[in-house]
């Protein structure tokens, strides 16, 4: 990958000079730069406000409201969350478990099907291409899925309800198939076959290692999707399964019951319940679910961009 980039840079170098003549006027450049700085701030400032509120003192929020310049700073909300770790930590752990298990299952599902559809001499290839295309066009809809998942599969209030309904997608399979078709040379597979390797071994020991970057891309798609998912919890969990709540769903519960944390009073002494810095705690909770993403996505975004371009190529 890096050598290709280096080559590209070398090839581009002689054009750089010409590019100088072909760039926009200075005033236009100032205008464009200002526009993009404004847009970048527009996308970033709301997150900053919530971050600042989570570190504001409760008194400041009561007096000045949510403000970029609070009258006092405090880490009381985070201390509070730490003390509630049995509950918050449980939700955090649920989110991590759902993300890790869901991503693993999703990768196995999509890569195996993608591999099968990328084999030119697989007899059922045509059939299964249509098999995965049909759900992209028509779905039974939420009600039918909900009825079957809860009544027949028994997924109501189950951990697996957070994972199974969204662990595969035709779109990802198509991306995978295109990846395999373009990055794995047919000759390697043929030669492995001549050496007597079975398909499963070819897939595990040859195809997967070669296409690691693409696996990483789809893995990231899944990771972010699972970490951010709240709809499955909203559909399939109710208050009987509070110990299964992922972080995102705890946030929703906080929204509908301001005193949700105080209700979990079994972890608190009576005096404590009154002193909950509820305004800032909510924002601190938001930050706990945002920070892992905000810190990691700048490093992963190139995979997303790569995945997008390949996904856009029709196979």
């Amino acid at each position: 990958m890096s050598t290709v980039n280096a080559n590209k840079k070398k090839m581009k170098a002689p054009i750089e000079g010409l590019k100088k003549f072909n760039s926009v006027k200075p005033t236009t450049n100032v205008f464009i730069s200002a526009l993009f700085i404004a847009l970048a701030l527009l996308c970033f400032m709301p997150a900053l406000l919530v971050l600042i509120v989570s570190f504001s003192s409760e008194a400041s929020v009561l007096q000045k409201g949510y403000s970029y310049v609070p009258s006092g700073w405090s880490v009381a909300s985070y201390v509070y969350l730490l003390r509630q770790w049995r509950y918050i930590g449980g939700a955090f752990l649920n989110s991590i478990l759902v993300t890790v298990i869901g991503t693993s299952i999703g990768l196995v599902m999509c890569s195996t099907m993608g591999y099968a559809l990328s084999r030119p001499n697989y007899r059922l290839r045509g059939f299964f291409s249509i098999f995965i295309l049909i759900p992209m066009l028509f779905s039974g809809g939420l009600v039918a899925s909900y009825m079957i998942n809860t009544n027949i599969l028994g997924l109501k209030n189950s951990f697996w309800a957070l994972i199974l309904p969204i662990c595969c997608s035709s779109f990802y399979i198509v991306i995978m198939r295109t990846f395999f078709q373009t990055t794995v040379p047919e000759a390697i597979i043929e030669s492995a076959k001549i050496d007597g390797a079975r398909q499963i071994r070819i897939f595990l020991q040859i195809v997967l290692p070669i296409s690691l970057p693409s696996i990483a891309t789809i893995g990231l798609f899944f990771t972010f999707a699972y970490w951010n998912d709240w709809m499955m919890a909203k559909y399939y969990l109710n208050s009987n399964a509070q110990n299964l709540y992922p972080l995102q769903y705890v946030l929703i519960s906080l929204e509908s019951n301001i005193d949700f944390l105080s209700r979990n009073a079994q972890f608190m002494t009576p005096g404590e319940a009154q002193n909950v810095p509820s305004e800032t705690v909510r924002m601190a909770m938001v930050m706990i679910s945002v920070i892992p993403i905000a810190c990691s996505y700048p490093f992963f975004q190139k995979y997303f961009i790569g995945g997008l371009t390949i996904g856009a190529v029709k196979g």
Partner: protein, 323 residues
Amino acid sequence: MSTTAVKGKKKTGSNGSSFDNLEIFLLHLPTTIWYLIFCYAPMFGVVIAFKNYKVKPGKSFLYSLFVNSKWSGFKNFEVLFKSSYFSDMLRNTLVYNFIFIVLGVVIPVTLAILINNMWSQKLAKVCQTMMFLPHFLSWVVISYFVYAFLATDAGLVNRVLLALGLRETKNMWYTDVGFWTWFLVFLNVWKGMGYNMVVYLSSISGIDQEMYEAALIDGATKWQQTKYITLPTLRPIISIMFIMAVGSIFRSDFGLFYQATRNAGGLVEITQTFDVYIYKALLERPNINMSSATSLLQSVCGCITIIIANIVVKKIDPNAGLF
């Protein structure tokens, strides 16, 4: 398709290993089972829409559905079409999606072309990364961001407006239909802007620089270069994004309409879309008959639109198209 199939047969014939097909089949068997359970079974579950669904306590779902519930033909749909909220629902879904599709192409394409012309690539990179952030946040988190600005008492907007003397009293933003009508559009653009811009930007950076060079030597202005080189190159990706969007014109972003608005009762006339209604009629105020009828209607209309959109796009550009 047919040529590859013929080629495939030849290869199996000459290359021996007749186990190949079986092994590959076994490899993707789990995925196949998943599709049968989670995609194909619900397709038959749509019969609920044609039944007067009644649960018989103590009996299984299938018994309740097939034995206990009577066929009602299209009666559920008749009730749905006659109901007072149906026109609102249809209008909200279609009009908002139409606006989102148009803005979802125009704004990101414009931004991609502009950012590509920025002098400082470093600044461009930083801005691009920051604009990517909302794409990675869930609507739950965004609803809190919005709340920090719009909360009646502590919200930043009300505090600033009061401090500047622009308003005498605090505005109840979560009941302000006029404001949310446009704010929903803003939120949708805000969340998707960075992501969609990058989609188009990655196509733009794939364009051969020599084309611009040649155009420059021929005396083309920047605007002409954009019009005759950049936009035509973007056409296939724009068509793909377009059919995907049109194909889901009967779907709405549940997170945007339900979660970001905090399901505020006063906003129902603009936030009730198909998906919001289906959810509410399934879990909040259960009315399975209406919910399943709406759900099926949405799927059927969506299926028809995506097929039509695909045909249209293929007419314009034979190489584009989803299938």
